[in-house]
């Protein structure tokens, strides 16, 4: 039973990551290969503030979110300077720089050894320390983010974010600053990814740089593109496919040694097929221009 709840927690984390990437890709049209940076910042700041300074989870989470916002401002500066492929390449560079920093800044991040002993969060005195309680905890976060998007997608700000995505010049002609809307989008995306990172750190109670690599960023982007960008249901579908695919392979009695590679082969194939034949993804609304 614990295994099912473990799958559920991982699904919730990936739903949050996919929704965060959807904010950038689907709503702003910014293809980022650095989503794992915010995921990593959320996880590392939570881990460091809890283990080294003894902060409570909620204080650690607040600092993690603040850190994500600060780094998001750097990203938004880049988004204001360059577009399309060059933005993607800049995010690729930031992803690799981030990995180099967490890997080498040993006094703070403990390098490749990672950080262990991250304590579990508490809500109203209740210790969240079992897979079922984490599944509930993660579920609440997913619900909050989905409800937020249900509201946010109808707001004028979101319409301007999407307008910036579709036609920057039109937005400029309305007297609005496109970079301002890109900034909002990148900050929102960073906050949600940071929350996912913080849940991940406290759930596993151990983190190391290998969870926040370029491969992870590619994976998060793929989840959104396969599920479909621009709507809430798309990223959720992508995350479900990614998390449940290995279970399907296990059901087909595929050995574990093969299943991990098979999952990635099928996922890669799905990505190529989607790009080639169904650019909107399974449930998407937006086609990357």
């Amino acid at each position: 039973m614990n295994y099912i709840f473990h799958i559920l927690v991982m699904l919730e984390i990936y739903i949050l990551l996919a929704l965060s990437a959807n904010q950038k890709v689907g709503l702003s049209g910014l293809i980022s290969l650095a989503q794992a940076v915010f995921y990593g910042i959320g996880a590392y700041i939570t881990a460091i503030t809890i283990t080294k300074f003894g902060f409570s989870y909620w204080l650690a989470l607040s600092i993690a979110i603040l850190s994500c916002v600060i780094v998001a401002l750097i990203f938004s500066y880049i988004a204001g300077k360059v577009r399309e492929l060059y933005f993607t390449l800049a995010t690729l560079a930031l992803q690799i720089i981030f990995f180099a920093v967490v890997y080498n800044w040993i006094p703070v991040t403990n390098g490749s050894y990672g950080i262990s002993g991250i304590t579990n969060p508490k809500i109203f005195g209740l210790n969240i320390n079992s897979p079922i309680s984490f599944a509930l905890f993660g579920g609440i976060w997913v619900l909050i983010v989905i409800l937020f998007y249900k509201w946010f997608l109808k707001t004028p700000i979101n319409r301007l974010i999407q307008a910036t995505r579709d036609d920057q010049i039109a937005v400029l002609s309305l007297g609005k600053n496109p970079n301002y809307y890109k900034r909002i989008s990148i900050i929102l995306s960073a906050i949600i990814a940071g929350i996912a990172g913080s849940i991940y750190a406290t759930y596993t109670s151990y983190i190391d740089p290998s969870s926040f690599t370029l491969d992870e960023s590619i994976l998060i982007l793929s989840i959104v593109l396969i599920g479909g960008a621009g709507r809430i249901i798309g990223p959720i579908t992508g995350a479900i496919i990614y998390i449940l695919l290995p279970e399907l392979l296990k059901f087909m009695q595929m050995p574990d040694s093969i299943a991990a590679n098979m999952r990635m082969i099928l996922f890669g194939l799905l990505l190529v097929l989607i790009v080639r034949f169904k650019p909107k993804g399974i449930f998407g609304k937006y086609v990357i221009q």
Binding site: L85, L89, V275
Partner: protein, 292 residues
């Protein structure tokens, strides 16, 4: 002093191998506008194909010929099934980049299934080195230098004899106008994909002689080649070689004075600075604003 010379020699040899990958990556990117990350997958496929035949036949020529045939067939298939249809749909560079990432994931995971994730080495008959005081130049390095230079030389002769550089430059500048002037752009695309992949295959085999190969090994060298592509920003083989060697020298110096893990971080920091402040590349004409 001895250390500095050793770093310089190692950098020239490694930079030469990087330039083989970077020449292919740059020509593919500039001509087809595909940011071909799957080049990393092609790189490792070539090395594994060579290794596989070498263990079966112990014949280098057959192994190299087989590896070249495999990568040429694979990239031909990729171009015809994925990249060319995307080009016909007038998809932008981000779409082809995403497709390329998908292809890379497929290729390296198939290789991991077939050969395992661990590093595979060649039972090396080419051992030994030449020593000049404190400076060591291995026989593998000598082979890498000779074959690497010869391969680049062949590529330059090909460009010279077929006047391809002008054709490729023309497609790079404007594909539609090139078509109007009678250039078969599809054929040129396919040719440059195949040639670029063969160059990467040769680099991979030469590198495998030295350090072996694993399925993940292609990404790092492809990303560094991509940095060279952005820095150079032109279809100029000699500039690509010069930048490849300079970048390798920088990376090796960082590895020596700091730590191996910082070298990629610093390389990509340079890329970031170039993207932000000199998007047209270090040595290039100014791009029009709408192309930035």
């Amino acid at each position: 002093m001895g250390t500095a010379i050793q770093i310089l020699i190692n950098s020239i040899v490694s930079g030469l191998l990087l330039s083989l990958v970077a020449i292919g990556f740059t020509y593919i990117f500039r001509v087809t506008r595909v940011f071909h990350l799957a080049h990393g997958g092609i790189y490792v496929t070539g090395a594994f194909a060579c290794l596989y035949i070498l263990t079966k036949t112990n014949n280098w020529l057959v192994a190299i010929a087989f590896a070249i045939l495999v990568v040429a067939s694979l990239i031909y298939l990729i171009e015809k099934v994925v990249y060319l249809p995307l080009n016909k749909q007038q998809s932008n560079q981000s779409i082809s980049l995403i497709a390329s990432m998908g292809l890379y994931v497929i290729i390296i995971n198939i290789l991991a299934l077939l050969f395992g994730n661990e590093n595979k080495t060649i039972d090396n008959s080419i051992s030994g080195s030449f020593e000049f005081g404190n400076i060591i130049f291995t026989k593998v390095q000598m082979l890498q230098t000779v074959i690497g230079t010869f391969t680049i030389f062949l590529f330059l002769i090909y460009l010279k004899l077929t006047k391809s550089n002008l054709t490729l430059q023309s497609i790079s500048d404007n594909e539609i106008i090139s078509k109007v002037f009678g250039i078969n752009t599809e054929k040129e695309r396919t040719k440059i994909f195949i040639i670029g992949s063969i160059l990467a295959c040769v680099a991979a085999i030469l590198k495998t002689m030295e350090v072996g190969i694993d399925p993940q090994a292609g990404m790092s060298i492809t990303l560094t080649a991509a940095v060279v592509t952005i820095l150079v920003s032109r279809l100029n083989v000699l500039l690509i070689i010069a930048f490849s060697i300079t970048l390798t020298l920088l990376q090796n110096s960082i590895e020596w004075f700091l730590n191996a893990q910082w070298k990629e971080g610093i390389t990509f920091f340079i890329l970031l600075l170039v993207i932000l402040f000199r998007t047209e590349g270090i040595i290039s004409y100014n791009l029009r604003k709408d192309r930035v």
